[in-house]
């Protein structure tokens, strides 16, 4: 077990190094000289040259790369020119909002998805199953940003029930979180359905039936429990997609998280923030994948005791 953990950790560190290298390369390939961008088009050549020297842009690319790696290891990505403070501070200041949004969306997706999946999996190919499967296709096909706008149209512009943008009260998180959760609800529902259908054929379900448990007891006690492993797996694997979805959804609802920060910073060419935000997102995904991998062993006794392998 320790060996597995160490190996996964090493891969995680390697992936982060690769992600950092990729960001470094991308920003160097992008058109436009960073010093000119920082100072604006009216800056004198002397000022540009001075700033280039201060930022180390006049040094060989290898030296720049090594400096980047050294600074990145200390989470130093330079200063954001828009906020005038260290990029990592700006990014970390936005992290909480994104975590709140994605966690709320995950809870909605898991709860609703499990419920829908169980309803559908009870009677495969029955009417409920058909409706749920149609619904999941629809939920995955609709663009989240459009769904968000349509929800605003309904709940804010027409019914006047919920705020459409910003933060503050708990009501503010409802629309963004629901919007973000919809495609993931569909994914969780599909996985749960498959898993429930499979476990209803297992011998232990026959045993449970023969000892007189009701269908709903079997569903919650046996089928649901066994669906948890695939659901946790998929939630872990989908975390990247969820964060990506958050990037778009945050922009719809002016939610002050990492996603809106990334888009603003890319549009304003605030490269230090882009780098810091991208690598923080990468780090979150790497850690969550690691946790999802390791949590199989906690949820599935076959893996835990090694009987499976």
């Amino acid at each position: 077990m320790t060996g597995v953990v160490l190996r996964r950790l090493a891969i995680g560190v390697f992936v982060l190094w690769g992600a950092g290298t990729m960001m470094f390369a991308l920003l160097r390939l992008a058109p436009g000289d960073p010093a000119t961008l920082l100072l604006g088009p009216d800056a004198s050549p002397a000022d540009v040259a001075a700033l280039s020297e201060r930022l180390g842009l006049d040094r060989p690319i290898v030296v720049q790369y090594l400096t980047f790696l050294k600074d990145a290891a200390r989470l130093d990505f330079g200063d954001s020119f828009r906020f005038g403070q260290p990029a990592m501070d700006v990014v970390l200041g936005r992290l909480q909002a994104t975590v709140e949004l994605t966690l709320t969306a995950t809870v909605i997706a898991v709860v609703v998805g499990l419920a829908l999946g169980m309803l559908a999996g009870r009677r495969p190919d029955g009417p409920v199953d058909r409706v749920v499967s149609g619904l999941t296709i629809l939920l995955q096909g609709m663009p989240t940003f459009w769904v968000g706008i349509m929800l605003v149209l309904l709940f804010t512009a027409t019914l006047g029930l919920l705020p459409s943008s910003g933060t503050g009260t708990p009501a503010h998180i409802v629309l963004p979180a629901v919007t973000l959760s919809l495609p993931f609800t569909a994914i969780v529902a599909r996985i749960t359905r498959t898993s429930v259908v499979a476990s209803m054929r297992e011998p232990y379900v026959r045993t449970a039936r023969s000892k007189g448990l009701t269908e709903s007891q079997i569903l919650t006690g046996h089928a649901l429990r066994n669906s948890l492993v695939p659901v946790v797996t998929i939630v872990g694997l989908q975390m990247g997609a969820l964060l990506g979805g958050a990037v778009v959804v945050e922009n719809v609802f002016a939610w002050p998280g990492l996603g809106s920060l990334v888009v603003e910073s890319v549009s304003n060419r605030d490269y230090a923030v882009v780098q810091a935000a991208a690598l923080l997102i990468a780090a979150i995904i790497v850690v969550l994948n690691l946790v999802a991998d390791l949590s199989y062993s906690l949820l599935d006794p076959r893996v835990r005791t090694g009987a499976h392998r």
Binding site: L138, G141, P143, M150, V152, L153, A157, G240, V247, A282
Partner: protein, 311 residues
């Protein structure tokens, strides 16, 4: 293609033919309609994305414009026709979708065949590169790449294909691995057929079917991602017409002019849903023939985590 779908209808003896059997064609017909609109629509509908007519601002669907035409789906705050934007947007979406999927499939299949059929070293490099790329959500990477470089269709296509090739590579690799050890491939090897010929003649044909299925699924995702980028105002030049841009315009006018955002999104959602359905049909068809041909498409390949599990 015709053979493929009738075959699907006839093979399973349990399924009785019902009167609604023609619905099988529905997804293909809808997707075909979109492609048709993308190809010829702009020739039939007169729409100028740059011209503005301020007298026709924010007209509701069905209203008459000042020159006597009918704004079928209403107009936007600059007096531009929403129907025209929907038709021209179809061209943008279908073009970018097709180009991106083609690029992704080309790169993915090449990399996958090389990794699956040739050496371990390529395979290891591939799986590590994929790990790195997947550390970023695809849309974030696309936002960064498309945002850094100058706005153009080429940049958007490359930005979207940057992670788009991965599923193709994984699937091709898995297929190549299973086909590699089959008898006829061994026979060809013994007879001294060059490796390149073995790959093109004995390995690639097995991969093509599933690649088509994957391409359909991928097309839907790419169209969604492109609309997302345009919605955020990243990637395409401002002069191009895209559903995402129109939806973004309408966001500011929700309480007065709901039609600006509503229609392009509806059209987009319908396309993605039907492309998904078509992909599912391809999938179930090719999975059956796949099983008949190559003995086992290992579970690893289909779950998409295959590359990592290599020994």
């Amino acid at each position: 293609m015709t053979g493929a779908i009738t075959d699907l209808a006839e093979t399973p003896p349990v399924v009785r033919r019902r009167w609604w059997g023609f619905l099988r064609w529905w997804p293909a017909a809808v997707v075909g309609l979109y492609v048709l609109v993308a190809l010829v629509g702009p020739l039939l509908v007169d729409y100028d994305p740059v011209a503005t007519g301020l007298t026709d601002r924010l007209l509701p669907p069905g209203a008459t414009t000042h020159d006597g035409g009918v704004a079928l789906l209403g107009t936007d705050p600059l007096g531009r026709d929403i129907f025209g934007q929907v038709v021209y947007g179809a061209r943008t979406s279908v073009t970018i979708g097709a180009l991106t999927v083609a690029l992704s499939a080309l790169v993915g299949v090449t990399v996958g065949v090389v990794a699956g059929y040739f050496g371990r070293a390529v395979d290891a490099t591939l799986s590590r590169s994929v790990d790195i790329l997947l550390a970023f959500p695809g849309i974030v990477l696309a936002i960064i790449v498309a945002g850094l470089f100058d706005r153009s269709i080429t940049v958007v296509v490359i930005a979207l294909a940057l992670t788009g090739w991965i599923p193709f590579a994984r699937m091709t690799r898995a297929m190549a691995l299973t086909v590699r050890d089959r008898e006829w491939v061994a026979a060809a090897r013994v007879m001294g057929v060059p490796r390149r010929t073995i790959v093109t003649r004995h390995v690639l044909p097995f991969v093509l079917g599933p690649v088509v299925a994957l391409a359909a699924t991928d097309f839907g995702l790419v169209v969604l991602a492109e609309a997302g980028l345009s919605f955020l105002g990243i990637g395409l030049p401002p002069t191009s017409v895209s559903w995402g841009q129109t939806i973004a315009t309408g966001k500011e006018y929700l309480s007065t002019a709901w039609w600006i955002s509503a229609f392009p999104g509806l059209v987009l959602a319908l396309l993605v849903v039907h492309v998904g359905l078509l992909g599912d049909q391809f999938n179930s068809y090719f999975h059956r023939t796949g099983r008949r041909g190559a003995r086992s498409t290992s579970r690893r390949g289909s779950t998409g985590r295959g590359v990592e599990g290599s020994p």
